[in-house]
C-alpha cells in the first residue's frame, strides 16, 4: 500500500486492513529538495508512519529519489527547455508507482499494490480497465491511465468507490490523523513560494522569446520562452486593452511565440505520441481528456490522430491525452500531445 501521508491513502490502507489483507505501508521518498506543496516532506512521512502505527501495519520508506530525478524531474526540465508542457505527476505514476514500486513489490513477494487514487479497476469482458472513480470531482483515472494488463490485474484502488467526502468521513470515524489534511496541490518538487520560474531558472538558461502575431509582425518579447505554454494569455509581454490574445504556437528553434485570437487556437484534430494501451489498440469513437480536471470530449481516434467531433481548444504539446471508451466510463489508453 503506497502511503503518502494523505487522507486518501490512509483510508485506502484502512479499507484493506478491514478487508482482512496483510498490508505493508510503503512511503516513497522521491524528491530530495525543497517542498512546500504537501508532498514528500518529512512531515508527510511522519503522518504516513503514524497512520500505519494506528492501523497496526508495518511501514517502510523506500528512497527512490534517484529514479525520481531520472524519470520525472530531469525529463520535466528537458521538456520545458523544448517548449513542451509536461505532466510530471503522470510520469511519476508511470515510472515510480507503477514501475519501480511494483518491481520492488514483486521482488519482495507482495501479491498486489494499492494506492489511494480515486479510480476503479473493473473487468470489461475478460480484460481489466481503469474506470472513473465514484467521485466525479476527484476522479483520477486520467493520471493512472498508463496501467497495462499486467499491472491492472494486481493493482487496487480501495477508495475508488468512495467520494472524497466519504473518505474524509471515514477517516474521521477511524480517528485517523490525516482526516482533515488538505489535498496536496501542484507539483511536489516545485515550491509555491519559488514557483516554476525559480525551479527552471536554476536548471536551464532562459532564452528571450520574440512575440509575433499570426502574420509575423513583431509585438514584443518575453524574458523566458521556456516559461510559455500554448493557450496562455497572461504574461506574454503585451500591453493591456485590445482584443484578448493567446499563445497559439511556440517555435523553439527561432525562439518565437505566435499569438492570436481564441479562434486561432481551435483545432479539428491533433496528433499523439507514445501511446500506451490498457489492452488492444483502439480505432473509433472515443472520449478524450487532455488535462487532469478537464472534461472529456468526443472524437474519432485513428492511429496517432485524434479527430474532434467539434473543434477544440489546442492542447499544449507535452500534455497527456487520455482516451476513454465512447461512454466515458473507462480508460482505453493514452499518450502525449505532439
Amino acid at each position: 500500500m503506497a502511503l503518502s501521508g494523505g487522507v486518501d491513502s490512509s483510508v485506502a490502507a484502512a479499507e484493506l486492513v478491514a478487508a482482512g489483507h496483510h498490508v505493508v505501508g510503503i512511503t516513497m521518498r522521491l524528491w530530495g529538495g525543497d517542498s512546500d506543496t504537501g508532498c514528500c516532506s518529512v512531515a508527510d512521512v511522519d503522518d504516513a508512519r503514524r497512520v500505519a502505527q494506528q492501523l497496526d501495519i508495518d511501514h517502510l520508506v523506500f528512497n527512490f529519489s534517484e529514479d525520481f530525478n531520472k524519470h520525472v524531474v530531469d525529463p520535466y526540465v528537458r521538456a520545458h527547455s523544448q517548449g513542451l508542457t509536461p505532466n510530471p505527476c503522470i510520469e511519476c505514476n508511470r515510472h515510480l508507482k507503477f514501475d519501480r514500486l511494483s518491481e520492488r513489490a514483486d521482488l519482495l513477494g507482495f501479491d498486489a499494490i494499492a494506492t489511494g487514487h480515486h479510480a476503479r479497476i473493473d473487468l470489461v469482458g475478460n480484460r481489466y480497465f481503469v474506470h472513473r472513480g465514484a467521485d466525479p470531482v476527484k476522479d483520477q483515472s486520467y493520471v493512472v491511465h498508463m496501467l497495462p494488463q499486467r499491472e491492472l490485474r494486481r493493482t487496487m484502488f480501495p477508495v475508488g468507490n468512495m467520494t472524497k467526502a466519504e473518505v474524509r468521513t471515514k477517516a474521521a470515524a477511524l480517528g485517523l490523523r490525516t482526516a482533515a489534511k488538505p489535498d496536496s496541490q501542484d507539483v511536489c518538487f516545485i515550491t509555491q513560494t519559488g514557483g516554476r520560474e525559480t525551479f527552471l531558472g536554476a536548471r536551464i538558461p532562459f532564452r528571450t522569446g520574440t512575440v509575433v502575431d499570426t502574420a509575423g509582425a513583431v509585438l514584443g518579447e518575453v524574458p523566458a520562452i521556456e516559461m510559455i505554454t500554448v493557450g496562455q494569455r497572461r504574461g506574454i509581454g503585451l500591453p493591456g486593452g485590445g482584443p484578448k490574445r493567446y499563445v497559439t504556437a511556440i517555435d523553439q528553434t527561432t525562439a518565437t511565440i505566435v499569438v492570436g485570437s481564441d479562434k486561432d487556437l481551435d483545432d479539428f484534430e491533433m496528433s499523439v505520441d507514445d501511446v500506451v494501451w490498457a489492452d488492444q489498440p483502439h480505432v473509433g469513437n472515443v472520449m478524450v481528456q487532455c488535462s487532469a480536471h478537464g472534461a472529456a470530449m468526443p472524437a474519432w481516434l485513428d492511429g496517432d490522430t485524434v479527430r474532434w467531433r467539434s473543434s477544440q481548444r489546442r492542447v499544449a504539446p507535452g500534455q497527456s491525452v487520455v482516451f476513454f471508451d465512447a461512454g466515458d466510463r473507462y480508460v482505453l489508453g493514452g499518450g502525449i500531445a505532439r
Binding site: T27, R29, V42, V45, D46, R49, L60, V61, F62, N63, S65, E103, R104, D106, L107, L108
Partner: protein, 386 residues
C-alpha cells in the same frame, strides 16, 4: 547471562545493529532505577537529598574519568554524542575563532557542524583513514581538528596518535577532537585520551541508556558552552543533570572497560565466521574494509546485484535486524557519504549491508543471520530484472 535480557523480549530475532545502539546492560538498568524513584532530588540543590544525588553524580564522574584516563574535572556530561561533537566544534570556534577541519567520513554530528561554519573537509584513504599528508598541508588557520577514532559505518580504526603527531607538529595551537562514540566497546580509551584535547562518547553505544554522553575537555582546551543557564558542569554545559542516565552510563562504561579485552577476541571470531560464511556461500560479496583495519564488531559488505532497501526488508521479515547506511529523518535510506568518500562506486554502494555485532551476539545469531542473508540475497538476485 549473555544476551538473555534481549532475547527474552525479542525471542526469535537476531540483532546485528550494535553500531546503531546496544541493548542496555542489566546492571546499568539496575543502577539507574533508584534515581528514577526515591532519589529524585536535583543534585544542584542544597538539602540532604540533593547532596545524596550529588554524591552519586560525583562518583559516576570519578568512574568515567578513571576509564577514560582523565581528571574528573575534565568530564562534561552531555545529552549524547551529537551534543558532545557539536560542542567540540562550535565551542572551540566560538572561543578561538579560526576554522574547523575534519575528514569526509565523519559522523554527520561532526561533518555538518564543520560544514555549517564553512570549515575544511579533507579526503581519506580507501579504508576511510584520514589522509595525513592532506592533513599536514590543510592546517592553516585551523583552530579545531576533528577525527573519529572508529567509523560508525565501516568500522575503520584511525590511529589518533598519528593524527595527533601531525597536528601538534604543524599546528601546535590547534585543538584536537576525536569522536570516540564507536570506539568505547573496542578500543582502550585510556590509550586514546592522552593524544587529544576533546573526546566524545555516547552511553547507548556501550550498554548505557540513550540521551546521555560525555565530552572530555582536557587541560588546554577552551570551549564556549552551547547551553547556558544554571552553570552546571563548571559552566561548560548548563541544564539539570540527567541523573539516572549519568549513573547508568558510568556503570555501563566500567563494565565495558573490564570486559573489553575478552569481548574483542570473542566478537572478532564471530565476525570472521559471519563474513567468511557469507563470502563462501554467495558470489560477489565484497568486504568493504580489510579486517586488519577495523573494530571487532564491524562486518560491512557490499553485495552485488541487489538493492539494500529490498534486502533489509527481507531480513526484517525473517527477524534479522541490520542496517545499510545512515538513515535520514524521514527513515529513508540515503546514499552513504562514507562509501562515496572511500571511493566505493555508487552501483556497488546500493548493495551495502552493515552488520554490527556486540556483547549480546552469539554463535547461534551468526549462524541464523548467515542462513537468512544467503537465502534473501539468492531470492533477490533471482527475481532481479536482468
Amino acid at each position: 547471562m549473555r544476551g538473555r535480557s534481549l532475547n527474552a523480549v525479542h525471542d526469535g530475532y537476531t540483532y546485528l545493529d550494535h553500531a546503531a545502539t546496544t541493548p542496555m546492560r542489566a546492571d546499568a538498568v539496575a543502577a539507574m532505577l533508584p534515581f528514577l524513584t526515591e532519589q529524585f532530588a536535583n543534585p544542584s540543590g542544597s538539602h540532604r537529598f540533593a547532596r545524596q544525588v550529588r554524591k552519586a553524580i560525583d562518583e559516576a564522574r570519578d568512574d568515567v574519568a578513571d576509564v577514560l584516563g582523565c581528571r574528573p574535572g575534565e568530564v562534561i556530561f552531555t545529552s549524547g554524542g551529537t551534543e558532545a561533537d557539536n560542542t567540540a566544534i562550535f565551542g572551540t570556534l566560538d572561543r578561538c575563532g579560526g576554522l574547523a577541519l575534519c575528514p569526509a567520513v565523519e559522523h554527520h554530528a561532526v561533518l555538518q557542524a564543520v560544514e555549517a561554519r564553512r570549515g575544511r573537509v579533507i579526503g581519506v584513504d580507501a579504508a576511510g583513514r584520514v589522509d595525513l599528508e592532506a592533513l599536514a598541508t590543510s592546517l592553516d588557520d585551523v583552530s579545531v581538528v576533528s577525527v573519529m577514532a572508529v567509523n560508525n559505518e565501516i568500522g575503520t580504526i584511525t590511529d589518533i596518535a598519528e593524527v595527533a603527531a601531525v597536528v601538534r607538529r604543524v599546528a601546535p595551537q590547534a585543538t584536537l577532537h576525536t569522536d570516540a562514540v564507536q570506539a568505547a566497546c573496542w578500543l582502550d580509551l585510556r590509550a586514546l585520551t592522552p593524544h587529544v584535547d576533546l573526546m566524545s562518547l555516547s552511553a547507548h553505544k556501550f550498554g548505557g541508556p540513550k540521551g546521555v554522553g560525555v565530552l572530555v575537555a582536557r587541560g588546554r582546551s577552551v570551549i564556549a558552552p552551547m547551553l547556558v543557564g544554571g552553570g552546571q558542569e563548571r559552566e561548560r554545559r548548563s541544564g539539570t543533570h540527567n541523573v539516572a542516565g549519568i549513573i547508568a552510563m558510568a556503570s555501563a562504561l566500567r563494565a565495558t572497560d573490564q570486559q573489553r579485552s575478552d569481548e574483542n577476541a570473542r566478537v572478532a571470531a564471530l565476525r570472521d565466521v559471519l563474513v567468511d560464511d557469507l563470502q563462501e556461500q554467495l558470489d560477489d560479496v565484497h568486504e568493504t574494509v580489510d579486517r586488519a583495519h577495523k573494530v571487532a564488531g564491524s562486518a560491512h559488505v557490499c553485495i552485488d546485484g541487489i538493492e539494500n532497501e529490498a534486502l533489509l526488508y527481507l531480513l526484517d521479515e525473517a527477524g534479522v535486524c541490520a542496517s545499510a547506511a545512515s538513515s535520514c529523518a524521514s527513515g529513508a535510506m540515503e546514499p552513504s557519504h562514507v562509501l562515496a568518500a572511500i571511493g566505493v562506486p555508487n552501483e556497488r554502494a546500493r548493495g551495502a549491508l552493515r552488520l554490527t555485532l556486540g556483547r549480546t551476539t552469539t554463535a547461534d545469531d551468526i549462524a541464523r543471520a548467515t542462513t537468512v542473508i544467503v537465502e534473501a540475497v539468492r531470492r533477490l538476485r533471482k527475481g532481479a530484472p536482468s
